[in-house]
Amino acid sequence: MTSTLNPKFTFETFVVGAANRLAVTAGRTVAENPGSAYNPLFIYSGSGLGKTHVLMAIGHSAKQLAPQLNIEYLTLDEYVEAFHAAIAAGQGDAFRRRFQNVDALLVDDVQFLTNRKEMQAELLRLTEALQQAGHQIVLTSDRPPSEIADLDERLISRFSGGLVVDMGIPDYETRVAILRRKAEERGARFQPGVLETVLETAAGIDFPNVRELMGALNRLVAYQAVNETPINAEAARQVLGVGPSTAASATAASPTAAVTGDEFSQFLTDVTVTVGKAVEAWRARVAEAVLRWEGEGYRTGRLEKLLDHDNPSAVDEAIASYIHDVERLKALEAEVGALDPQAAGDKVFRDPDRMAEAEAEAAKVRDGAAPPPAPSGAFPLDTYAGGASNDVALSAARAVIEAPGRKYNPLVLAGHSGLGKTHLLNAIGLELMKKKGAVVACLSTQAFVDELIAAIDGDRVDWWRARYRRATALLLDDIHLLAGKDRTQEELFNLFNQFLDGDRQLVFTAPAHPNKLEGLEERIVSRLEGGLVAEIGDPDRAVRRTALERILSQQKMTPDPALLDYLADRPTDSVRSLTGLVQRVSEAAAAQDQPVTAGLAREVLEGQPPAGGGGRRTTGLRTSGLVVSSAGGVRSREKMVWDWPSAADRVIEDLR
């Protein structure tokens, strides 16, 4: 019932010229802002000038920009047919609902509304409903609304209420450009001058519209395909059935005596040949290129300057190099657009005379849009100690690595400080980065907030957003630090939705279950709870033992089983504190010049403080191997550096 959009009919394949530029610009605008720019958009033109192409291009472009949009393209006849079928089936209401729910309705050939009163009423109702709902309508016709015979006044005013644009017959250059592009599409190469001959002999009269022009081109392509030698201009004339001088036939028909008429025709032909041979050889090619690229919005100063020169040598090279530069600009603009949509609008990407600036601008954006902070390589997954206390978190992490975005999204690792959340978070990030095309953003929430503040300060929020939107996974450490940061929560909320929509993985760490965190907006909390909250408990013995093994081996000590057992048996509430234990014992061993043994450890941790280091620790109260600062204001005792190698290291410079 509804036609599908022809994939070939996009804005990219549409040749823009002076005659259709307005319609194309309006079409693009509508595709970018459906429902809000020109509603309805009414495009009219003679047959075969590209109405359907533009209409479908709007559909494609809108769909590309917002894939979730529901877009219907159909001809008026299809609409009528669908309506009649629905009425016959007693499904009139369903029919209306169906069309009222589309985001953009594209109706082709509405001139056939003539003499269809009931359809006019139906379309009027639909137009009103869609407009009220802010949905886009685009209509095409072969004449303006007011000239559609027998059209309801209300429809005329509706149709005319948005924007009515017409598309004229393309000018010479546009027609040449169309022929060239279509020939390219068909993989056909013609000798220079053949395509121009089609237009010269026709002088725009024989082929008034593009469709017929395509017919002529097809004949040439077919002819060339069956002949081994490439077709030349003269043969092209014969194939197309136009004599060497169309004007001759035109004048022969005039009332003036046929005999004498020939003299003028002959003269005209001679002049045409002279102009064609000489003038067109290069100036027209340049003029054509100027108009074509101007039509696409590029500065053409360099080409225009060519026209000022007398010497036509190297014109083709100049045009080719211009096109080469434009292609490069297009690539740069696309690249920059993906990184920073705001920067892509810069006019240097439209001026081939400023290539260096464009390259520099792109490089700047490229540098600026360096991938977001990546996970730290210091936390590989295989060094993460697993056990009963973090079993859930670890298996969830493995599931996330296995199927990012699809299993647990978001994954929240909750637990108090020192349990290895950051390690696991980074480990997940490192594993995710191994996937093809992965861009993993892994950073602390504080850094995330700081970046946003800097972006706001530098008026580069779009750039900042684009940087994170490119990521395939976002991993934020210490999400509770978002408390009270309303703007960051807002940004995170939007990112959150985009990541969830795109099945991209989100992982967070938090000191407690999200619903216990204060200062976070409800909508953030509910989203955090929407995936899996894996709580990590105090390290069990297995975790402690594995962790100790790792710590000892990192410090190049032989993990003595007795030592391991002794240390692992000591009660502790975090993995991080184990590092402290090992450090104390190893220092004592070094001071006493003894090997690290279970006995020494017991002595250090339970008996007298080691003589060598005692002098340096003036404060501190030992409990289960931990040193608690007596100084107030230190929140996390594990984060205290309790054993300074030398007094000089304790000097903290005043902050300026």
Partner: protein, 199 residues
């Protein structure tokens, strides 16, 4: 005057028919006028005296239509041949892209022909133009007259065509040589324009 306007996509060629009085310049234009389809020609402006002498000038615009994407127009002018209309001649010559010198083949008109040629040269110089840089063709008109009255084209070439520009014998009244002359000057003008120069 610029021959080719790339902005408006136009080619305009101004061709001036020059020569002594009664040599047949207006006749040339009339013949062309009669052969150009109505749709392609503008109104021929002719300011003539009661005895059909050109008082000011004739003007015939011809629209050749779109040629290679250019709207191509020819403007054909004649100058009044009589000696005392020199100011008009100079005015008409202004901006000419090409000149057709219509000479009278009658032997007794040789001096007038020479005088007119010199006049052409000096009038061009008044506009700061060296006659050697302007496309010029010669047309020896009235070749249909009795042999004893006229000089042959070869003789006329010897007498008038110092720079060996293209020359044509003609009978403008019956059309012989008219379009050949026009074609030749057009080619010269257009080729010059092809080289990218402007008149």
């Amino acid at each position: 005057m610029s021959l080719v306007n790339f902005t408006t996509r136009e080619i305009t060629c101004k061709i001036v028919y020059y020569g002594p009085g009664r040599s047949g310049k207006t006749t040339n234009l009339h013949y062309v006028y009669g052969r150009v389809p109505e749709s392609r020609r503008g109104r021929m402006v002719s300011l003539a005296t009661q005895t059909d002498r050109t008082l000011f000038f004739d003007f015939l615009p011809i629209d050749l239509g779109q040629i290679s994407g250019f709207a191509t127009r020819f403007q054909l002018y004649t100058v009044p041949g009589q000696v005392y209309y020199n100011a008009t001649r100079r005015l008409v010559l202004q901006g000419a892209d090409g000149v057709v010198f219509v000479g009278d083949s009658q032997a007794r008109q040789l001096d007038e022909n020479l005088e007119s040629l010199q006049n052409l040269q000096s009038n061009l110089l008044e506009h700061g133009i060296d006659v050697r840089t302007v496309p010029v063709v010669m047309q020896y008109n009235k070749q249909d007259l009795p042999r004893e009255l006229i000089l042959t084209p070869a003789e006329l070439d010897d007498a008038l065509n110092f720079r060996s520009v293209p020359s044509f014998s003609a009978d403008a009244l019956h059309g012989q040589g008219v379009f050949e002359t026009l074609k030749s000057i057009s080619e010269l003008v257009l080729k010059r324009l092809a080289a990218g120069s402007t008149a």
